[in-house]
Amino acid sequence: MRRHLFVALAAAVLGCGFVSATFLALRQPLSMGDYLAVWGLKARAIHATGELSSVFRVDPAGAFSHPEYPPLWPLLLAGTARLLGRYDELLLALLRPILLALAAGLTFARTRAPLPWRLLAAASLTLLPYFQTAAYTGYAEALLLVLVLAALFLLESRSPTPLTPVVTGLLLAQAALTKQEGVVVLLVAVGLLAAARRLRVAAIVGGLGLGLGVLPWSVFRAAHGVSGLADFAPGSFDPAKVLRALSTLRDLAFLPAVPWLLGAAVLLALSPGVRRERGPLLAGAAAYAALLLASFAFARVDVAWLVTWTWDRLALLPLAALLPALFEAAAEPFETGSEPEGSAPAAP
């Protein structure tokens, strides 16, 4: 009876989170912030011309639209608008709940714990501030999240097929074509696979990710003379920028983040089975965060400005990726029973 109640409660929280996020997304047309200046601008250009190169024409000097950003999200918006028969910012907002449902479903599927904990993991994803604000509707992170969570789901599979590395590589190629953080995920995934001596899988994933994701967009940009417009450049390297990024992050987010970090640390400390099982995921999240932080050393623009306007969106990916591990850790003491400490959580 108590278990049924727990399942019902978890399902209700998931339902509330999803309905609330969907309502906020569909309440008004896409039009805010980077949607207008970056993603939607390019999507409307592609929709009007049918040509990818039009994303460079709208802002050839790179004054505000970041021509170097990968094009998959604008392509998806433009393609959906074509299917709908017109570019309608309200109808295109429907993509958000679809992507959120996929991300929540993948979080549910990745969580190796009994049903209520899996539902709570999915619920917590829908309740993340990124999805509970109208401001970020129309931004590219939701698509990136779905692609990365799908790749993680395959990489974590306990019964991989010969096609698993291929599909994972294709997903990470698409992630690299969605946002530059997708390239960082690809590098981390390949590095961890190589460190685990899964060299064949690492080669397939890395080859497909680089060959079908990173390379084509780099060549296309270079062919249109926009390769030098990136926010980051080797010539701008200055290690002190990393310290400035950390200092800005401390001012912006340290105090609110402390309870979350402590809570997560205690949960994991109390769950040796999850720590053992999820070691690669924890290492991957740490490596991803470290690489993002290190990338600020190459920033061409003011680092404090960059961190201020991006940190919450940059945090979305590692946070969402870690949710299954955190809910498995919360579930572990309830699953171990009288077994010796350190046993793994029961399979769902």
Binding site: C16, G17, S20, F23, L24, L26, R27, Q28, P29, S31, M32, G33, Y35, L36, A37, G40, L41, K42, R44, A45, I46, A48, T49, S54, R57, V58, D59, P60, A61, F64, S65, R86, D88, E89, L90, A123, S124, L127, P129, Q132, T133, A134, G225, P259, W260, G263, V266, L267, L270, S271, F327, A329, A330, A331, P333, F334, T336, G337, S338, E341
Partner: protein, 132 residues
Amino acid sequence: MIPIRSRRLLAALLAGAGLGALVAGAARQDLPLSDSLSMAARFWRAGPRGRLLNAPGIARDAAFAADALRAAATWPLQADAVLSVGPLVAPEARERLRRKAAYLLAPRHVSIGPGIGTEVTLVRGPAGDVER
């Protein structure tokens, strides 16, 4: 060695507190529910043009956006645009209007031209007149 009951209690407390904080954050909305519902109803009843001109990121400069939409409908796609902005227009406003014009006139390139006083005018530029 922490007793299993204490571990369970701690895990339940931490998970509950985390979820509670997320639910509380989600419950803090930018608008009262009734206003949100009527806003959604207005947008879903409106046509595509009304939706766009009243969208939160556009509505502040709705008259300018309406001009830009008219230009987008009549100018050829090959023609670019010049946004003439007078020196008395604040730089933030100039940049805001430039981005809106670029969005509404896409795929055309919108460049900034000199204007008089508080003038804000969109004029058709020559095709392919792009700055690199």
